[in-house]
């Protein structure tokens, strides 16, 4: 048997209360988006695409970012409580592997949120009587949001490692989401890690990430992720372990 920090993190997800947020938050975002769409049918004529923008505009700016913030806060709060950091860091696992495992789990949780977003998008569309099914590009945007979202997860893990409070990092995530939205709106999306989800989802209808933008998108995602993860590893391995 080999040591696995990832398996240990996955066990911690059993009966995790945070899953409730993964049902409620996408549901609220979908309800608001569908309500907006239904009330603006005179200007929203593009069917599935307009429903998509209504669903994902606020979701990419607030709800998804808040969900990433909450899931990362929860993942770190597990260890901030009591003497859990003692057990984790007195195990034969390096700080880098501990944080990489948390990143993988946080990323997986983002995947669940995006899958719920996609499922609710189709369900709401059918519920309000849109014809047919949305095209494959929506699945592609969700997949790209998942890829780009790893940068948000890494940044939030770093924030939640440093700030032991649960709510403050969620606030940072929401501010990050708003900053990312405006950064993208002013063509500076690549400067903000939180903008990558907004860009990938094409939530403001400015245009999806095409083949030509794929390299800078992936490179920016990798750069922000490695930077945040590296900073977190440095903090965890160089600082004394503090218990509450």
């Amino acid at each position: 048997m080999h040591a696995s920090a990832l398996r240990a993190e996955l066990v911690k997800l059993h009966r995790a209360p945070i899953w409730v947020a993964f049902i409620v938050v996408p549901l609220v975002a979908a309800a608001i988006g569908t309500f907006n769409y239904q009330n603006n049918l005179e200007i929203l004529k593009l069917g599935w695409f307009d429903l998509w923008t209504q669903h994902t505009l606020f979701e990419s700016m607030f709800f998804l970012q808040a969900l990433v913030g909450a899931s990362c806060s929860w993942l770190m709060r597990l260890e901030h409580r009591g003497a859990n950091w003692n057990q984790l860091m007195a195990s034969p696992v390096s700080a880098a592997r501990v944080l990489a495992a948390k990143l993988a789990v946080g990323w997986l949780m983002l995947g669940v949120a995006l899958a719920a977003t996609g499922a609710l998008f189709i369900a709401c569309g059918k519920l309000i009587g849109l014809s047919g099914l949305p095209g494959p590009e929506y699945a592609q945007w969700l997949a790209l949001a998942w890829v780009g979202g790893v940068a948000s997860v890494a940044c939030q893990l770093f924030v939640s490692l440093v700030i032991r409070n649960f709510a403050a990092p969620v606030g940072v995530a929401v501010i990050g989401g708003i900053t990312g939205f405006f950064a993208y709106a002013y063509d500076s999306g690549y400067l903000c890690p939180y903008a990558l989800i907004v860009m990938a989802l094409n939530s403001n209808g400015h245009g999806a990430i095409g083949a030509g933008q794929m390299v800078p998108f992936l490179a920016t995602t990798a750069a922000f992720t490695l930077l945040a993860l590296g900073a977190a590893v440095l903090v965890l391995s160089r600082r004394d372990i503090r218990t509450s």
Binding site: M1, S4, K12, H14, A83, M89, S91, R238, I241
Partner: protein
């Protein structure tokens, strides 16, 4: 004497306050070493430095033949089990799930969980979540986690905290048996002198971050002064005849005597018409020896 833990001038300061100061600790291999000191003496910080949770400000530590450095932390911790401060647990999980986390982190086989649960008698907790555990049950769970994988060295920080008297006795016996049954050395901290006396072969007394005394606990017992205490029908005369003092409680104190001398003393008192009402052999308390060895610096 081979040491499985050796520190040289180990120190830790937080700002201007030095909580561990120039500590030279030596834990012999295959022994139970009692780390004794009042609350806030620096026991926990020292243990944390041994597993790399806290970086020393000065000095060095060697654990199981390897110097404690950030690079060696993973290698050392693969052979060390620890329960430091309070037991670590995830309250939304069961005991088994909590140990599954430890098993995953240590790369152990599935059977390690059953073994650990049986050792601390938590095998029947089933689906009960840890949030519903008593403090004693959480402490047992912490011990189970520390014991998983049969480590070569165990660091236990006040392991009987929160346990009931039967549990305390059980854990003490378990700790005493570990070197014999598993060849494991144990560094166990406590602020209770009697507890360390019952569990350990070696003791280190830490006070204000400094090592006040360390060595085999039998050396302390060997230094214990013994005497006979008497109550007679005429204590004043008995004290004069035996050239002995009378203590504050009115007992006549006679230096330790062999069986023959004790018999001669009682016959002599009888001849003088003094009856012996009580005769007790007394021994200096371990706590008094500590104070004698360490001056007044240690208060336990």
């Amino acid at each position: 004497m081979e040491a499985c833990v050796a520190t040289r001038g180990l120190s830790k300061a937080y700002g201007k306050s030095e909580v561990v100061s120039g500590l030279n600790l030596c834990v012999p291999a295959g022994s139970v070493y009692g780390f004794l000191g009042p609350n806030g003496a620096g026991k926990t910080t020292t243990m944390k430095m041994l597993v790399g949770l806290v970086r020393p400000s000065n000095g060095s530590a060697t654990v199981l033949g390897k110097q404690v450095t950030p690079r060696n932390r993973v290698l050392i911790n693969a052979r060390v089990g620890s329960l430091i401060e309070s037991p670590s647990c995830y309250p939304h999980l069961t005991a088994r799930e909590n140990l599954e986390i430890v098993r995953s982190l240590r790369g152990l086989s599935k059977s390690a969980i059953d073994e650990a649960l049986a050792t601390v008698r938590l095998e029947r907790t089933g689906t009960k979540l840890v949030r519903a555990f008593s403090l004693g049950m959480k402490q047992r769970l912490g011990l189970a986690a520390a014991l998983m994988g049969k480590p070569d060295l165990l660091l236990l920080d006040e392991p009987t905290n929160g346990l009931d008297p039967a549990g305390i006795q059980e854990i003490r016996e378990l700790i005493r048996e570990l070197p014999v049954e598993r060849g494991c050395a144990v560094l166990v901290s406590s602020h209770l002198l009697s507890e360390i006396d019952q569990m350990s072969e070696y003791v280190g007394i830490i006070s204000h971050g400094k090592m006040a005394w360390q060595g085999p606990i039998r050396e302390l017992h060997a230094q214990a002064r013994r005497w006979l205490a008497l109550r007679t029908t005429d204590d004043t005369r008995a004290a004069q005849l035996l050239e002995a003092a009378i203590d504050a409680d009115g007992w006549v104190q006679v230096g330790a005597l062999g069986d023959d001398d004790a018999a001669r003393m009682s016959l002599m008192l009888m001849r003088e018409g003094i009856g012996i009402i009580r005769l007790e052999e007394r021994r200096e308390e371990l706590e008094d020896i500590f104070l004698k060895l360490t001056g007044t610096g240690v208060s336990l």
